[in-house]
Subunit: 130 residues, 2 copies
DNA sequence: CTCCTATCAAGAATGATTCCTATTAGAGGA
DNA sequence: TCCTCTAATAGGAATCATTCTTGATAGGAG
């Protein structure tokens, strides 16, 4: 099977995802890229996000508020997700790869990625609440 | 604000979730409870799962294959999710609460829960593949 | 008994994601 | 250059989990 042909739009999606410190949804990326590619369809964004995820070039942060969120930073790090506003913050991780190894040893499976996520309320939403 | 009234069906959902070692979806729970409560509606399962999650009595494992999965075991532990078949396995966690503390210190927010999940292929799906 | 509130079923509505189809564009060979 | 094959793409329809709305029911407080 031929290696995936390069695609200007897929590369633009990847570049945007890498240039940004937030954790966008497909819709956000689509809206943002529409200025450079007026004929970009949302379906194309979804298809390419999936492909990039399968290739390991990007990472899925999971579904937050009904929308899947992605991260262009594949270096191991954790996330903090605000349950109220949906904001996602990167948090450095100390642990190393011990969990990765434990899982493979205990389950006999192969681990492709580890996601550590804390859920709660961000500082901003704590203020609003108070 | 009155405390949530007790509800037979909510308690049945919670009991089933706690009695089981798998990580069911709303639909699975609904099908399973239908024998005891023939008039249980799927909407009721969703509403009560959300409420139980908000109360911290159960935990969401995240959306896997388009369906949200829940866990009645609220003790800290990690998960291993097979990307092929969607199976979820519990994995003990060594780390302790350092990530929890780090997040609160770095972001100023309040952490309600931490989810550590490894993604990959389970032993069974590795065999099929080979 | 009478509000007031929580629960519930049923089904409609929502909305993210995927699927389908026809079209386009690029690479390699003749 | 022209042809052919294949991947990429747009556009829109289809899918499907989840949420919302409505109307009905029941329990507790006064």
């Amino acid at each position: 099977m031929a290696i995936a042909r390069r695609s200007v739009k897929r590369e633009a999606i990847l570049a945007l995802l890498r240039s940004v410190t937030c954790h966008p949804s497909a819709e956000w990326l689509h809206a943002r890229l529409l200025t450079d590619f007026p004929d970009l369809s949302l379906g194309t964004v979804y298809r390419n996000l999936r492909q990039l995820t399968d290739e390991g070039l990007i990472v899925s942060v999971g579904v937050i508020g009904g929308q899947e969120r992605f991260d262009g930073n594949t270096a191991p790090h954790g996330h903090f997700v605000c349950r109220r506003c949906g904001a996602v913050t990167d948090v450095p991780l100390k642990g190393g790869r011990s969990f990765h190894r434990d899982v493979e040893r205990l389950t006999g499976g192969r681990v492709q990625g580890v996601e550590t996520t804390a859920y709660g309320l961000c500082a901003k939403c704590l203020d609003i609440r108070a």
